[in-house]
Symmetry: C2
Subunit: 355 residues, 2 copies
């Protein structure tokens, strides 16, 4: 199989974790006789520094010419004081919108070998296995107006939570599709006792549910969901929710597994061009030190092989290798006891060898 992969390392540890991931993809290509071509693009702070914009046109073109995209991370203190349009995050948000990457999938699954790393007790997290399906191109993130105004004669500021009905429908369809291949349970999270958008969300969820008679639908208020994720995370199979709620709940849920350094994600579009990235950020404090955990990005690449290229066996090979390397006790600094950590490159080598 011949595929073109756009690589957007971005800022901070983004470069390090993407480098290691590319090594592994090359090993996969060799072993399974595929041809992967890698095209690098600039995004985030790096792009601001080199091109004066967080998402250069070239980068969009590189993505559109590719079969899938792997992103590292964006952001850092260097650009924190920049005006909004010149901040690294804008690059990522604009790319999501530009490529219509509306469905962000974040699997939360505990690793047998890392059960002790969670702040939660073992009996709460053992066997947790769910997916958060976050809407990624609507809601408060993109609604207009988003500006300072004078309201009733006073200084004020407004943001707008806007959804078109079809945007709500397609993300719910994604969630039901995923659930129908899993344990057939969808938890739709909203705030229907306060927000009109949530009431529409709930209606649409009911409509979509009617088309999937073998999948059960449960509605849960977002405040309760934030509690239930800690109280009994095993109850969930597929959680579907709007953009901002999904941002908050998925970072919270990451704590179940013990480290953000393990969590992969896929952002899917209807065009078939999808983006894969670790859930963690650019971690400027540890950037360039060869200590970041590359596993989240490596597992994102496995998601890419499965989801974008249909390479199930290859995806499994990576996941298996990661499991074996963790079972053998290899830990990067985020998970290791003092003085026992292996480096970014070392754990990458171990995983490559375990393939």
């Amino acid at each position: 199989m011949k595929k073109t992969i756009a690589l957007l390392p971005g800022d901070g540890i983004g470069k390090e974790v993407v480098d290691v991931t590319v090594d592994i993809l090359k090993a996969i290509a060799e072993h399974f006789h595929h041809q992967f071509q890698f095209n690098y693009g600039l995004i985030g702070g790096d792009a601001i520094d080199q091109k004066g914009t967080p998402l250069p046109e070239e980068t969009i073109a590189i993505c559109k010419d590719s079969d899938a995209i792997i992103l590292g991370a964006v952001g850092g203190p260097k650009w924190d004081q920049n005006p909004m349009e010149l901040r690294p995050e804008r690059g990522l948000l604009a790319l999501r919108k530009e490529l219509d990457l509306f469905a962000n999938l974040r699997p939360i699954k505990t690793f047998e070998s890392l059960l002790d790393s969670s702040p939660l007790k073992k009996e709460y997290v053992n066997g947790v296995d769910f997916v958060i399906v976050r809407e990624l191109t609507g809601g408060l993130y993109f609604g207009k107006p988003s500006e300072r105004i004078v309201h009733e004669g006073e200084d004020a500021v407004v943001d707008t939570l806007l959804y078109k009905r079809y945007e709500i429908e397609r993300i719910l369809v994604s969630a039901f599709e995923i659930a129908s291949k899993r344990r057939k349970h969808v938890t739709s999270v909203d705030k229907a006792n306060v927000l009109e958008s949530s009431r529409v969300w709930r209606e649409v969820a009911e409509e979509v549910a009617a088309r999937y008679p073998d999948v059960t639908l449960e509605h849960m208020l977002v405040d309760n969901a934030a509690m239930q994720l800690i109280r009994s995370p095993k109850q969930f199979d597929v959680i579907v929710t709007e953009n901002m709620f999904g941002d908050i709940l998925s970072d919270e849920a990451s704590m179940i597994t013990g480290s953000l350094g393990l969590l992969s994600s896929a952002s899917l579009s209807s065009s078939g061009l999808h983006l894969f990235e670790p859930v963690h950020g650019s971690a400027p404090d540890i950037a360039g030190k060869n200590i970041a955990n590359p596993i989240a990005t490596i597992l994102s690449a496995a998601m890419m092989l499965r989801q974008s290229f249909g390479l199930e066996e290859e995806a499994k090979a990576i996941e298996k290798a990661v499991d074996n390397v963790l079972n053998a006790g290899n830990r990067t600094a985020d998970l290791a006891e003092d003085g026992k950590a292996v480096s970014t490159k070392q754990i990458g080598e171990e995983i490559k060898n375990a393939l």
Copy 2:
């Protein structure tokens, strides 16, 4: 001291927990030679059934004629299909707005005797002691438009996150005031990398911080905050945030202590008329069974004695009694092992006796 207290039991377990709390307040009045007069008002589903509206004018009048308000809880499946204006929550939201109860304080403090009840490991929760200061009368909860619209020719829905600058300022002032009497650390939670309202929030936070040179201010993104609450809850002293973020984070934080049945809250206005209520809801599934945990409401009454009436000794007496009763091993069903639970009334009696 002579005080008038408005009692709004509301729905579900609201009545049971308020009943027990009134018993305890009567015991306090007797013991410390105060006169508390109790005036009952209708709110929520109960008010809908009896008066056709979730917040009757009489109830507002009763509140305004009182020195403080104790609320039980509102809501239940009976009214879930009602149109928005006839839902129980509307009564609570309208009361918050009507009385300008803008500062919702939710203390999160672990009980020595209940450390094992948390889903989190003991070493994570032992010694946790912080307050969430949630803005309660602005943001997405009250912004207009909040309605179905046609947008770019398509069915859509919009909600509005609106803040006047002074609303942001006064909640931050509340937080800094509280922090200056505690460990002098404020964590201001926002989503400044996405929302314009958060950027104004951050600016105002900096302005207010400049007036409190002995209090340190830290900004934290809401997704990170959702994670940090689980990862290292001890880092927090005072968390201040907008309405919706506060709703989500405070329910999440309740899991640190192990049960929502223990968490009290105060909603403060600038007029001096404050409302006190448990953080938990009306729990329709266990209503009328005499098994609800009344401690959250009892501790809310203690907050009232301290905050509204300046009765520090009396507040401490209640808190001490609750501690003793928990230390002696008394547990309601939410915290007990099977078959070992005491009833709502029993634990109320125990606390009264321990005064």
